[in-house]
């Protein structure tokens, strides 16, 4: 495929506001995880929470959009001069020509959960102040972001569980390739809620301690929240050497609703399709950011897929020991981490991992290292066996 320039990006998560907070934490071996202190949730688990969202209410003409998920989107949009980059693109292309495609798994469901706690004891009604469409409907964060940025191009939400905000790159590339827009704001926002905290707990998939991806004794995920955004444009609009999306690959497992294909067949297919679109061989990939949730089944299946395709040579790691599993925001979070690795010549190790599972064949990096990185593959796999891999590199390199 024709590469697409990533001319601006931003990331907010439990490591801090702005993508350099994430970069610095990766370099300092500082995790964003802490024992669960989310509202009145009573769960023995660790979470990656973004502090201070209570102070960032959505107000003014967009006040009806106010909820934790859109607050997180708003806080994210305000970092890394992302709005300036979008304004600049608007001046060049016009607001009709910039798409907004956002991934999320649960949107603003927390507000609905809270509304159910406040039902009228006689009528059973939800509070009058509750607005579903602007907060919880799955495209609420896409619509909030679109309105906040003043864009009027094609827009939608992608909700394929934990691959949602990787797949936004694929859909944006297609819209631009088809000539329906000249640029796209893509991203993902997912925020802490009881549905995912208790849902993953009921599946016995959450760890009682900080998650340990690829560890022999890994015992589940740590749930996090995050907002990430990227501005995609044709490479002609960007300087040589800038970061670019080189390829994407999508697949389904056709296996099971909540466990991946044991041999990682769907995962491997997603990586193969991504490499094919990028026109790259496996030995041209310097680092793989794994989906690496630290669940027994995901990490095992992903190892088989990665080792089957790349052998034992290519360094790889999951960064979920830092951010937690940010679910529908994981794709964008880890794509931006991948771009930071290329930009800053850096590969993160696998935080919290002590002993790599002896059954694994892929080359799990335990410790971070400074090293030139040309091309990165980032994996995102979701419930329902929904897989997406993206390939990142530099323009003209």
């Amino acid at each position: 495929m024709t590469p697409l320039a990533i001319t601006s990006s931003t990331l907010t998560n439990s490591l801090g506001r702005g993508q350099y907070a994430t970069l610095n934490a990766l370099r300092d071996n500082r995790s964003g995880l802490r024992p669960c202190d989310f509202m009145d949730a009573e769960l023995a688990t660790w979470i990656g929470k973004v502090d201070g969202l209570d102070d960032f209410a959505v107000t003014g003409t967009l006040a009806q959009y106010d909820c934790r998920n859109n607050r997180l989107a708003q806080l994210g949009l305000q970092q890394d001069r992302f709005i300036d980059a979008v304004e600049n693109a608007k001046a060049r292309y016009g607001s009709n020509r910039i798409a907004v495609i956002m991934g999320t798994s649960t949107s603003g469901i927390l507000l609905t959960e809270q509304a159910f706690r406040q039902r009228d004891s006689e009528t059973g009604k939800l509070p009058d102040s509750f607005h579903y469409t602007e907060t919880h409907e799955l495209s609420a964060v896409a619509e909030f972001s679109r309105r906040y940025l003043g864009l009027t191009g094609p827009s939608m939400a992608i909700s394929t569980a934990c691959s949602s905000s990787a797949k936004v790159f694929a859909s944006a590339q297609r819209l631009i390739a088809a000539g329906l827009c000249d640029a796209a704001v893509v991203g993902g926002v997912d925020s802490l809620c009881f549905t995912t905290l208790y849902g993953f707990a009921s599946l016995e998939l959450v760890s009682p301690r900080p998650c340990r991806p690829a560890d022999a004794n890994r015992d589940g995920i740590s749930i996090g929240e995050a907002a990430g955004f990227a501005l995609l444009e044709r490479v002609a609009a960007a300087p040589a050497g800038g970061i670019a999306l080189l390829g994407y690959g999508e697949s389904t497992d056709a296996h099971h609703m909540s466990t991946p294909h044991p041999e990682g067949l769907g995962a491997r297919l997603a990586m193969e399709r991504a490499l094919q679109r990028a026109g790259l061989q496996t030995d041209e990939i310097d680092y793989i950011n794994l989906h690496g949730t630290a669940s027994k089944s995901n990490d095992g299946a992903e190892d088989k897929a990665v080792a089957g395709l790349f052998g034992s040579r290519t360094p790889c790691s999951s960064t979920k020991g830092w951010t937690g599993h940010t679910l529908g925001a994981a794709g964008i979070t880890e794509a931006i981490i991948g771009s930071l690795c290329i930009e800053h010549g850096f590969m993160p190790g696998s935080l919290n991992t002590e002993t790599v599972d002896p059954a694994f064949s892929s080359r799990i990096l335990l410790h971070s290292r400074n090293q030139a990185v040309r091309h990165v593959v980032s994996n995102s796999f979701g419930f329902g066996g929904n897989n997406c891999s993206v390939v990142l590199g530099r323009i003209g390199a």
């Binding site: 939608m156 394929t160 819209l175 009921s202």
Partner: protein, 269 residues
């Protein structure tokens, strides 16, 4: 952006499949609504049929009908599932549980709550490893789904099966987000004309913002009441096998314009 339509299906009150729905869609008889047809769901094994929610069954029903109409291997096309709120019954049940004393929601209910549950069940049932997308866009979900399916079809040069579906929220969410009834439709898009192609569809964004109301007031009520039913103007045009242009509301000030060119004497009948 030109795509070819090889199959269509419909599901709604008093609309049990494409053939049986042709008279009201063509205006040969008034549309009077009626009961929701039972789901056949022959693709789902018995255990999965028990586990799957209503939205999964609806999405699979329309997708299967469309695949069967043109005889395509259901594992061949890429999939686009589009629904505003997905499984409204599962979401309501989860929020109700979480407000109660025992917050441990059932694992099956939790995995059924993801928006891509129909995509997951479908891929398992038909053995498809093709890309599948699950999207949402409020009351303009039909336009967003159509756009995603058409761009994927043209850019990737792959057949795409688009399934649109919505089911109503139970009380109390029904008051906050009224979805009038269950409605679904599916289209099989091809990048190049095949022996099964019955229409060429030119898909473009346009500055025209008004969708013309449907002549039949009951159909118009259905269209306005369910996000997926916003596809009705196109379905009516296909039923009449007539050349013409329909406009689906999208992101103001742009709409999605669909220019229909019949390729055969009888269309999908």
């Amino acid at each position: 952006m030109k795509v070819y339509l090889d199959a269509v299906s419909i599901y709604g009150p008093g609309l049990p499949g494409w053939e049986a729905s042709l008279p009201p869609l063509r205006g040969e008889m008034p549309y009077t609504g009626g009961d929701l047809p039972a789901f056949a769901c022959t693709l789902l094994p018995a255990t999965e049929r028990r586990r799957a929610g209503k939205s999964v069954k609806l999405a699979m029903e329309v997708a299967q009908q469309a695949a069967r109409q043109c005889g395509i291997d259901p594992a061949a096309p890429a999939m686009v599932f589009a629904s505003s709120s997905g499984d409204t019954e599962v979401l309501s049940a989860i929020c109700e549980s979480l407000a109660g004393d025992d917050r441990m929601i059932s694992p099956t209910r939790f995995h059924n709550s993801v928006h891509n549950a129909p995509a997951g069940y479908w891929s398992i049932a038909v053995g498809s490893r093709q890309p599948s997308n699950s999207i949402a866009c409020r009351e303009v979900t039909a336009a967003a789904g159509m756009l995603e399916a058409a761009t994927q079809c043209v850019v990737e040069q792959t057949p795409v099966l688009l399934a649109l579906y919505d089911i109503p929220f139970p009380f109390p969410l029904s008051a906050a987000e009224p979805i009038a009834t269950a409605f679904g439709a599916a289209l099989l898009l091809q990048p190049q004309q095949t022996p099964h192609s019955r229409f060429c569809l030119d898909v473009e964004l346009t500055a025209v913002t008004t969708t013309e109301p449907l002549h039949d007031s009951e159909f118009e009520t259905l269209r306005l009441g369910v996000p997926a039913a916003h596809l009705l103007p196109l379905l009516q045009q296909l039923a009449m096998n007539a050349a013409g242009t329909v406009v689906l509301e999208y992101i103001e000030p742009q709409s999605l314009q669909l220019t229909v060119t019949p390729l055969s004497q009888k269309g999908f009948s």
